[in-house]
């Protein structure tokens, strides 16, 4: 195999972007999977996409548009999620379709070729810019730092929101923080991974890790590892088979999820069996 490709700057950038994006997405994915709010992520991703398109249409920085839209959506979902007064699924469904509708409207209004708009949908990790990389690095570092600093609060909220509140942990604030991180991660991953695909990079590694361990710490680590491996495998496949990189990354992450589910020790565990024989899990 000809490895000279790795000598090129663009390839090195892509490898770094896959690493940073993998860590950030897979880490926020752990929250999304454990809190059972998958569709919040989908909704934020589409909001970011719509916001970025508005930026392209009106001529301001698409990243800014993506950031404002995903945070704005998170700010609407946040109270719904933390108070639980409305049916969350319904509200998210409405917001999600609204964002998709806005995205199509902005796309439709764009004069001339829609290359830039479409590239936000598919992503292009091979043409990632220095600025993109810096932002990815900042967000990935922030995500990891917050998980480390607020691990016990996050763990308590993931276990049970009401219990977390009852011991004096500001659960609402933690949930807003998590949504903010999710929105930021999606924003900076938009141009390398793409608005349509980003979500599988959030869900799949965390869902794969969920199959393999009963330790939250290990779940975070495994998920990040799977995120990075998905990115790198996808890049390789994209190079070898000349396939679109974002899509190849998603397929790689889905494969990892499939394998993890297939070999999951949790599938065999039944409540009453667990009592007698400790299951062999990581």
């Amino acid at each position: 195999m000809d490895l000279s490709i790795f000598g090129y700057q663009f390839m090195q950038n892509a490898i770094l972007a896959a690493f940073l994006g993998g860590v950030a997405c897979a880490t926020v994915g752990v929250f999304v999977v454990l809190m059972g709010v998958s569709f919040i992520g989908v909704c934020l991703a589409h909001a970011a996409f719509a916001g970025a398109l508005l930026g392209v249409l009106l001529g301001f920085n698409p990243m800014l548009g993506a950031f404002l839209f995903s945070l704005g959506t998170a700010a609407i979902i946040g109270p719904l999620a933390s108070r639980g007064e409305l049916n969350l699924d319904t509200s998210i469904g409405v917001l999600f379709s609204l964002m998709l509708g806005l995205a199509f409207i902005f796309m439709g209004l764009m004069p001339g070729p829609k290359t830039q708009g479409l590239s936000l949908l598919w992503g292009s990790i091979l043409t990632v810019s220095k600025t993109d990389l810096i932002w990815l690095g900042i967000v990935a570092a922030a995500v990891v730092a917050i998980v480390v600093l607020f691990y016990k609060e996050i763990q308590a909220v993931i276990f049970n929101r009401e219990i977390a509140l009852a011991v004096g942990i500001p659960a609402g604030l933690i949930i807003y923080g998590i949504l903010f991180l999710t929105g930021s991660t999606i924003t900076v991953s938009l141009s390398p991974i793409g608005g349509l695909l980003i979500f599988s990079l959030i869900i799949n590694p965390a869902a794969a890790a969920y199959q393999l361990t009963y330790s939250l710490k290990k779940m975070f680590l495994l998920s990040a590892l799977f995120g990075i491996v998905s990115g790198w495998l996808g890049l390789m496949a994209s190079y070898l088979f000349n396939a679109p990189s974002g899509a190849a990354i998603i397929v790689a992450s889905s494969l990892i999820f499939g394998l993890a589910t297939l070999f999951s020790p949790k599938r065999k565990v039944k409540r009453w069996q667990a009592r007698d024989e400790p299951s062999r899990v990581l």
Partner: protein
Amino acid sequence: MRNHRGANNTIVKIENAVVSYREDVALRDVSLEVKRGEFVGIIGPNGAGKTTLITLINGLGKLVQGRVWVLGHSISKGSINGIRKRVGYVAQLQNIDPRMPISVEEVAMIGRYSQLGAFHRPGKADRDIVDEMLELVGMSHLAKRPIGHLSGGEQQRVAVARALAQEPEMFLLDEPTASLDWRAQKEIMELVKQIHETRNLTTLFVTHDLNALPDTCDRVVLMKGGRIWREGRPEEMLQQDILSQLYDAPITIKEHEGRRVFLKAG
């Protein structure tokens, strides 16, 4: 023990509390005082406002009118987190995903989080307290197990250990034995009774099931339609005619092996 409210030793004071969720009024003008060291049972049919009343004390319920003082502080946005740290709370059995990546000892440790500030990690002293409480509730041997693999009764014991790990000044139990089997129900009742008696911990125990009320109650509060309908000593309140009125169903009391058993008659 600190005493914030003078000689009367009142630990909870609820004055004319009104709580409503949208159009439904959950509590109508309810007043209640609890003294330090008391064991108060709160009983009544479903929808009587028992849970709402108890969650006023740890600020999970939202007051529309009236005032609530707990441990010498009036409940407000500013004081609530401080109060919650001093109040142990056990809710009904929760539905926990068996795959949830959190172990029994980690769940009990959540109680310690109340005492640790932000950025502080649990140390040896915290782990010792968690070990002690798991031992107390008889769950030490399952400490490393994923919480979702335990039976309902075991999960509720862990919830008790978690609340005690807080080293609380008051203990709130909201239907802790609901949906548990007979044995688990009895074990939790015994455990709560033992904790109250050995630690003299002020305890409020909510249940709709008269047979799930520990016999160590000093006082019983009978709730109906969002109001405190009656309250008094258990031997005065737990009478066939009073309970039949409370539940709008004929109730018979039988003595069985030295214990009162409540039956739905007819």
